[in-house]
Symmetry: C2
Subunit: 350 residues, 2 copies
Amino acid sequence: MVRTGRATGPTLAVVARAAGVSVPTASKVVNGREDVAPETRRRVTEALDRLGYVRRPRFETSAPPGLVDVVVHSLQSSWSGALLHGAERAASDAGLEVVVSAGPTRTGGGRPGHGWLDKLTARGSSGVLFHLAELTAAQQARLDGHGIPFVMIDPVVEPPEGVVSVGAANWQGGLLATDHLLALGHERVAVIGGHRRRTCGSDRIAGYRSALASAGLRYRPEYVRHGGFHERGGHRRMLELLDLPEPPTAVFACSDRMALGVYQALAERRLRVPDDISVVGFDDLPESRWAGPALTTVRQPLSEMAATALRLLVRMMAGDRPEGTRTELSTRLVERSSTAPVPATSPSPR
Amino acid sequence: MVRTGRATGPTLAVVARAAGVSVPTASKVVNGREDVAPETRRRVTEALDRLGYVRRPRFETSAPPGLVDVVVHSLQSSWSGALLHGAERAASDAGLEVVVSAGPTRTGGGRPGHGWLDKLTARGSSGVLFHLAELTAAQQARLDGHGIPFVMIDPVVEPPEGVVSVGAANWQGGLLATDHLLALGHERVAVIGGHRRRTCGSDRIAGYRSALASAGLRYRPEYVRHGGFHERGGHRRMLELLDLPEPPTAVFACSDRMALGVYQALAERRLRVPDDISVVGFDDLPESRWAGPALTTVRQPLSEMAATALRLLVRMMAGDRPEGTRTELSTRLVERSSTAPVPATSPSPR
C-alpha cells in the first residue's frame, strides 16, 4: 500500500519494539489514554523521545483522532453482530472508536458506492475494515492516496497483491464438514456452495473435494450446486438434488442460512433430518443452535476475525506493514443433531 | 433538555417549516450535501438567508459534522443488528454517520462508564442514541452541558421528566400474547418476566394482567416469575412452574431467549410444544423463526424504533423539541407453531 503524508522518523511500530510493548499499547500512550501502567507509559515516552518519533500528521488534522470505519455488507444479517462485537472490542482496546456503515447494500453489489468513499476521505478516517466487499482499483488507489490503510475481512474475490485480508480457514472447514459425513458412512454427499465467484464459497467446495479424494470417492458434478448463500437458494438446490435419479444421503450447505433452506425442502418432501438425510451448515449463527433439529455446522470465528483485522489495521496505522497479507483463523466442527449414520435404505425422492 | 452554546436566531426546524421541507432535508442543505433537488436547495437557502439562520457553533468546532453515537447494551445479541440497521439507515438519510459503542457491557450494569462519556464529549458528538441504558443524573447533566442531545431506546427504567425516549408498545404486546392464549381456551396461563425493575418487562406483565382481568380470570401470583430475559432464566422458571401443584398449560415468556429456555425445560420433562404446553415469546429474533417448533411471538419493531429515535435526534440537533417525550411503536403477534388449544388433560409434572 502506498503511504502518503507520513512524517519522517521512526514508525510507532519501531517505538513499540524499542520500548518492549505492543503497538496498541504504544498507540494508547501517544493518544493520551489513561489505562496504561505508569511504568509502561514511562518506557514508551522514553522511547518516543529517544527515537524522535513524530506523530503522523493525519492525527493532527481536522479528523478526530481514533475513528476507524467498519463497512459491512448488511447490518440485518446475524453475522454483523458478531463481527462488530469483535471489531468494537479490539478498537476500544486500542483507544479507537468505530464508525459503522452498511455501504454496499445500498448499491446492490459488493462494492461500496462513491458517495460513501467521499464522506470517508473528507472526514479523514484513520483506517477501514471492509467485510464482504470488493473494491475497484480506483477506490483502492483513492484510499492509498489519502493514506488511509484498510483490511478486508472475507473479501468477495481474491484481493490484489499487497492487500491485507483476514478470513476463516474455509478450505479446512469444507474438509471438516465432509470428513464428518464420510465418517458416518455417507458416500453420496452433495455440497451446496454460495456464489460461484466468491472465494470463501469456492474454498469450502475445494475442501469438500479434497475430503472426497482422500476417501477415494469419485467427484460427481451433479452433487455440486450453488445457492447464493441464502435460504431460498438452499431450498431450491435441495429440491433439485432430491430429484436426481440417485439423490444424496447427506448435504453440506456452505452457509447456515442455506442449511435452513435445505431443512424446508426436506420438510416439504416429508424427509426427516437426520434419519433420512444428514445436513451440515457453515457459520454457526445463533439460529443454527435453535433449529429443529439443532444444526451441525462449521464455526467461523467472526468476532475473532474482526478483532484480528482491527489489530492488523492498528499496526498499519502506526506505519508498520504486517507480514503475510492473508491471515486465516481456523474453523471447527460443532456437532449437533442434524447428522447421523447413513440410512439402510436411501430416501425416496417422491 | 437544557441547550447550551446555541446561537441566537431561528432553529433549523423553523427554517425547514418556512421552506416547506423536512428538518433532515434542511439539514442536508446546511451541511452541503449534494443529494437535494436544486429547487429544494434554493427554497431552503432563501429561508436560511431571510430568517438569518446561524449555524450552531457545535458544527464548526473540531468535531466533524454529522457523527451521531449509538450506544448499545451488547453487540453480541441478535437485537443489535436490527437496531443498528434502522439507526444507520435513518442516519444516512439525514447525511449523518454512526459511531457505535458497546458501552454498558464493559461496566457490567446498564450504565455507560465514565471513560466513554469523556471520549464522547471530547470528540464532540452531535447526538446520542442509547439502547437499554440507564444514565445517572450526573451523566445526563454532562450531556446537556455539552449541548449533546440524546434519545433513549427502551430505557431500562422510567427516564426522568423531559428525556425523549422510544420504545415498543410493551403493554399492548403483553395483552396480545395473553389474549391469544386465552382465545385458545387456556385458563392456566403463566408469565415469565425479565428483571423486576425494568420497565419494558413490567409493562408486558401489566398487559398480561389486563388480559386476564378482561377475561374474568383471577390473577395467580404463583404464575408470575422473573427470568432476567435470558435463556437460563426461562429454563429455571419453567421448571419451577412445572413443579407447582397445578402447573400452567400455557406460558408467555417476555423474551424469545427465555422462551427458548422454556423449550429446553419442557424437553427435559418430556413435554411437547404445543401439544402439552403452549409457549409465546416476545421480540421476534431470527432464531425464533427457526426454533423447533417455530415460536409464536410478539414482534418488536427494533429497526423502526431505532430509525424513529434517530429522526427525533436529528430534530433535536436542529434545535427543535419533539412533542411528547415517549414514542411507542406498536407490537404485533406473529403466529407460528408453538401454540395450540388447551389439551384435554393437563400435563403431568413428572
